[in-house]
């Protein structure tokens, strides 16, 4: 029996020494002196002890109780006055946390979308398997037009193809809704290009369209300017070059001041200071007519850029194939 009292004392001593904070001491207090505590249990046993030993046992238990109360009090006051010194090796790595990553094309896509959402553009979608009509005819690219050679097309059936650009979404949106229209569409497109460092048969486009009564060529430039500043930084400029796309007139190729060299000339911009990004122009009368808009009342602009191209220029990626290779070391970089 005395050994029990000694054991309890030793255990509590150890426990208190190991206590790191008041909470630890308090829980020891409950465990030993609480209603169901170890010491309290001993006190309850006193009355049941044989008479000849009762007094001695009672004294020992009461002494233990007194000592315990004091030791706990002491330890509590110690804790509140001393600050512990730590010696942690912070060069050790922390516990590993999940390291997920959005695909770089998703990141760029979301960035582009957020720029346009902030300008009040709706984001529209459309099917990847598209009717020839929406992909070509409605966009002023009739059958046999040489412009079809610009976009080598995958066919699934006569009249059914994989969209070669996101422009059919323009047509679908205009046929569904009345002007004013302010939309972009991002999505996967397909062209029958042999795979090399700058071509993959699958790629991603962002398409924009604004139609109203007084949208001008100057507005096109203004919106593209906002767009490239939002994506490439506020010092980026836009330049238009003459080009041809059957669904716009006038049509323009859009170049941005090289974000890598700031326009001074570098290998990426072939020392020109400018990088061609994609097509744009005023929506062709035939397209407006086709969707049932009156071209004498409504006019507007459209543009279509490659998301891969934006990512390549922004991050200096030289090979488009990397986007679809999905090497973890590539994906993890962005």
């Amino acid at each position: 029996m005395p050994s029990t009292i000694d054991e309890i004392r030793t255990a509590l001593e150890t426990r208190l020494t190991a206590a790191r904070d008041a909470q630890d001491v308090r829980s020891a207090q409950i465990e030993y002196l609480g209603k169901k505590g170890t010491v309290t249990a001993l006190l309850k046993q006193i009355s049941g002890v044989a008479e000849d030993q009762r007094r001695q046992f009672g004294e020992q238990v009461n002494a233990l109780k007194q000592w315990a109360a004091q030791a706990i009090e002491q330890r509590l006051s110690n804790l509140s006055f001393t600050t512990r010194r730590y010696d942690i090796d912070f060069s050790l790595p922390g516990q590993l946390m999940p390291a997920g990553k959005k695909h770089i094309l998703t990141q760029v896509e979301e960035e582009v979308e957020s720029v346009f959402l902030s300008m009040g553009f709706d984001i529209e979608e459309g099917p990847e398997i598209e009717q020839e009509y929406y992909n070509f005819e409605a966009l002023n690219i009739p059958a046999d037009h040489p412009a079809r050679d610009m976009q080598d097309t995958f066919y699934l059936a006569p009249g059914m193809l994989l969209r070669t650009h996101t422009s059919p979404i323009q047509v679908r949106t205009m046929k569904r809704e009345n002007p004013p229209i302010r939309m972009i569409a991002t999505g996967r497109c397909y062209r029958r290009d042999a795979v090399d460092a700058s071509h993959t048969p699958v790629f991603t486009q962002v398409e924009g369209l604004v139609i109203d009564k007084d949208i001008t060529f100057a507005d096109l430039k203004g919106v593209l300017q906002e767009f490239v500043r939002g994506v490439f930084g506020s010092s980026t400029n836009v330049k238009l070059l003459p080009s041809f796309f059957p669904f716009v007139e006038p049509g323009a190729e859009t170049a941005i001041s090289c974000p890598i060299c700031g326009g001074k000339g570098c290998p990426t911009c072939k020392n020109s200071g400018w990088i061609e990004m994609g097509g744009s122009g005023m929506v062709h009368q035939n397209v407006l007519q086709e969707v049932g808009y009156d071209p004498s009342i409504y006019q507007g602009f459209a543009f279509g850029w490659g998301i891969e191209r934006i990512a390549m220029i922004k991050y200096g990626i030289r090979d488009i194939r990397m986007f679809y290779d999905n090497d973890l070391d590539f994906l993890g970089q962005f």
Binding site: L96, T106, P242, L328
Partner: protein, 809 residues
């Protein structure tokens, strides 16, 4: 189109460097894709005439050649060449000179004979072999009649030049010739000098009078379909003599980047390259009744084209026919039967203007791509067809002595299709461009391009020149204003738009949210190509995938019906590069086909292989497992609040018994499980892989709206129990019993243990549940929780014979 700087200089005077020319043409929309400069690398090469040839006295493979160098006297050389005869005009490099391949020439002894120089082949002269005929590439180069003996070779042959590769957009057919480029250079000059366009600055011959056209018995031309062929001219040449083109003509072809073939073909090629007018030569004696009829083909008609292929003509195809049968597909390719051969003595040159769409349709339908079709599709100049080209061709025939004379020119059609003037309203133009131009500005800008205009008030009446077939509607004229003013001279402006918020579809929002959740869990997003191999899909046991009619390769001949193929490919590549694991997802379209109609669905695919979590001193390695994957899916569904049931899956690509189907009350949401081993192997994955595929469209339909539920702010009570049950019993079945008998105060159940073997009896397992009880309005008493736990224990014992192993408070 390839052409050399010297050919442009021959057509118009300008003093731009090649670099400046490229930049300036680019500014007006004519792209020069590349430039290639050739320097004169040889020295002291002269044009010589062979006077005598005698065999070398001792070396039988050599010849001694005496050469006339004109005013430079004579010389003699030893040569091993076998294609040198008396009278030949050939290049020779003299001692002290140097060849293009850097050989220095000195006097040299061949046995007892001294050789004063070396005869040259194209290689020693550094000529462009692509532009030489096969004869010209054999042995010593022969110059044609007309090369001046004694002159320097660089005076006799246009070496030291810059070649341009012109790549124009489909609307710039007018720039696909030397004449066309010269016209654009004139536009540039006019704009710089602020002068109107002047055709007089073009130095190419552009005669306007058609040599005596008449239809008589010798050759009759009829056009049956004027809307597809506005004019057709046949030039009949008799007593045709064969042989190569003259030296002057041949070197002109070199500047035009045309390889010589024969005098007749060379002439047609010159018209094509120089003027942008395709021409074709028929054997006159193979034209039935000496008639040419431009008509559309009749049902059942066929033709064997020049390339020897028998082609059936779609009825309505524009053809050139004689009195009996089609002899050419108009503007695309001639027929073999009427083609010019070695025995031809009389030919008819065709010069015509065909409607672009007629040629384009026939070219695509027959699958024939020809230079002529390329030009016709982009629009040729009807003005040239009826005037300059027939005259130029007739003159060439005389100059080149191709035939004794041009006997007949027969024509049909309208001289030049007239263009109607188009009205441009000043306010409309400014309102379109956001500009502030006046009528004088517009007139001036049109003037640079040779577009005639007349001002009435604020309206311009414009008529394009015949070579600008692209100008048909007012926005096209607006483009010319922009082109001439400069694309960057226009203001930039942000549109005056109504303030509003942009929106996106719920599906798009859900895709973004899914990506966010999965990336947070630690998955990397992949994007793989949408193509798969059909045989792979079949071998996987999946329904047929949509097939491409014209796939790029057999490996990509179908559209993906599942994300598994692309993700597995990405996993294989990563594992082969030494990565220890691959945990990735992709969100995108998958495709299906039924009854010839195609369908697409947005899907989420997740693939786990190998290591799931990397290790370090604090963190143990965790390998991918079916329960890691299930945890991911549960986490996603919990985040989306999608309620679902789980039943075993019959997915073709998952192992039997190792797959589950998640479904809402009404629809299947997706499956997850262990990828079937043979499917993995088929996709290159040897290791165990875990795959889940969910329909994002279906998830979207099952996302509930969230509303607040009262929750308990009183301490909860936790009790653990473990029961011994038959190992066939599922955790789900047990959990259902616990839930049912735990009563409404049971807030949560966690399976903390699932154990089999060890000291447990065979066929038994122990499952441990941790139950959390709470009340929304009070603190629970231990005793009332005990009652609930007892009822759970009793239910487990009654319903599944569970033996209580322990209860922990």
């Amino acid at each position: 189109m390839r052409v050399k700087l010297s050919a442009l200089h021959a057509a118009i005077d300008f003093d731009y460097t090649p670099e400046e020319l490229v930049a300036k043409l680019g500014d007006v929309g004519i792209e020069i894709e590349s430039t290639e400069r050739t320097d004169v690398l040889f020295r002291d090469v002269f044009v010589a005439r062979v006077m005598h040839t005698v065999p070398h006295p001792t070396r039988h493979r050599l010849q001694l050649i005496d050469l006339d160098l004109g005013s430079r006297g004579t010389t003699s050389v030893c040569t091993a060449a076998t294609n040198v005869r008396e009278g030949d005009i050939i290049p020779v490099v003299i001692p002290g000179g140097r060849t293009a391949d850097a050989m220095d020439i000195a006097t040299r002894m061949f046995g007892t004979v001294e050789s004063f120089g070396m005869l040259c082949s194209w290689k020693e002269l550094g000529l462009d072999s692509d532009l030489l005929s096969s004869e010209e590439k054999e042995g010593i180069l022969h110059l044609g009649s007309g090369a001046i003996v004694g002159s320097l070779f660089e005076e006799a042959w246009p070496v030291g030049d810059t070649a341009f590769e012109v790549s124009v957009t489909p609307d710039r057919g007018d720039a696909l010739s030397v004449l066309g480029l010269a016209r654009w250079i004139e536009v540039l000059k006019a704009r710089e000098a602020n002068q109107p366009f002047d055709m007089g600055d073009i130095k190419l011959p552009l005669p306007s009078a058609l040599p005596h056209a008449r239809n008589d018995g010798d050759l009759a031309v009829t056009i049956n379909n004027q809307s597809l062929c506005s004019s057709y001219i046949g030039v009949l040449v008799q007593d045709v003599a064969s042989g190569p083109s003259s030296h002057a003509f041949r070197t002109q072809l070199y500047q035009l980047c045309v390889r010589p073939v024969s005098r007749i073909v060379d002439m047609t090629n010159l018209c094509l390259k120089q003027y942008g007018q395709p021409t074709h030569a028929f054997d006159y004696d193979h034209l039935q009744e000496h008639r040419i009829i431009v008509r559309t083909s009749l049902p059942g008609e066929t033709i064997v084209t020049l390339d020897g292929v028998l082609r059936s003509l779609e009825p309505g195809t524009l053809v050139i026919a004689d009195a009996a049968v089609p002899v050419a597909v108009a503007g695309v390719m001639g027929g073999l039967a009427s083609s010019v051969t070695a025995t031809t003595t009389r030919i008819v040159f065709e010069i015509a203007h065909f409607a672009p769409r007629a040629v384009a349709h026939a070219s695509r339908h027959l699958g024939i791509k020809s230079d002529a079709a390329y030009l016709y599709e982009r629009g040729t100049d009807p003005g040239l067809t009826v005037s300059a080209v027939p005259s130029v061709l007739s003159a060439l025939v005389r100059e080149q002595c191709l035939g004794s004379y041009v006997s007949r020119v027969a024509s049909a059609g309208i001289p030049v299709p007239s263009k109607l003037p188009l009205s441009l309203d000043l306010d409309r133009v400014n309102g379109y461009l956001g500009s502030n131009l006046d009528t004088a500005d517009m007139q001036r800008l049109f003037g640079y391009e040779g577009i005639a205009s007349r001002v009435t008030g604020t309206t311009l009446s414009v008529i394009p020149p015949s070579f600008r077939g692209d100008l048909t509607s007012w926005p096209e004229y607006v483009e010319e204003i922009v082109r001439m003013e400069g694309y960057n001279e226009f203001p930039s402006h942000t549109p005056n738009l109504v303030l509003r918020r942009g929106s996106e579809s719920p599906l798009k929002t859900l895709c973004k949210r899914l990506r966010q959740i999965l990336v947070g869990i630690g998955l990397v997003e992949s994007r793989t190509v949408s193509f798969v191999r059909e045989s792979t899909v079949t071998a996987m046991g999946l329904p047929p995938a949509p097939l491409l009619l014209n796939p790029l390769t057999v490996d990509w001949d179908a559209l993906r019906p599942t994300m598994a193929v692309g993700l597995a490919g990405a996993a294989v590549r990563n594992l082969s590069r030494g990565r220890e694991g691959f945990a990735s997802f992709e969100i995108g379209k998958t495709f299906s086909v039924s009854d010839h109609s195609f369908d697409e669905e947005t899907k989420l695919g997740i693939l786990l292989v190998g290591r799931w979590q990397d290790t370090n001193w604090t963190t143990p390695t965790i390998n991918s497992s079916i329960f890691v994957l299930k945890g991911i899916i549960e986490s996603v569904l919990r985040d989306l609040h999608v309620p679902c049931n789980v039943v075993s899956s019959d997915s073709a690509i998952l192992e039997t018994g190792a797959g589950v189907l998640f479904s809402s009350e009404t629809t299947a949401l997706g499956t997850l499980g262990i990828l079937r081993h043979d499917v993995g192997v088929l996709l290159g994955l040897e290791r165990e892989a875990f795959y889940a595929e969910f329909s994002v469209d279906a998830l979207l339909k099952n996302i509930p709206t969230i509303s607040f539920k009262e929750f308990s702010r009183f301490p909860s009570v936790r009790r653990d129990i473990a029961v011994l049950v038959d190992s066939g019993m599922t955790a789900g079945q047990l959990q259902a019993i616990v839930a049912e008998h735990g009563g409404p105060l049971l807030k949560a159940i966690v399976v903390f243990d699932n154990f089999q073997g060890g000291g447990l009896p065979a066929g038994k397992k122990s499952v441990g549940f941790s139950m959390e009880f709470a009340s929304p309005d009070r603190t629970l008493f231990g005793e009332e929780v005990d009652v609930l736990v007892n009822s759970v224990e009793a239910a487990l014992a009654t319903h599944v014979g569970g033996i209580l192993r322990r209860t922990r408070v």
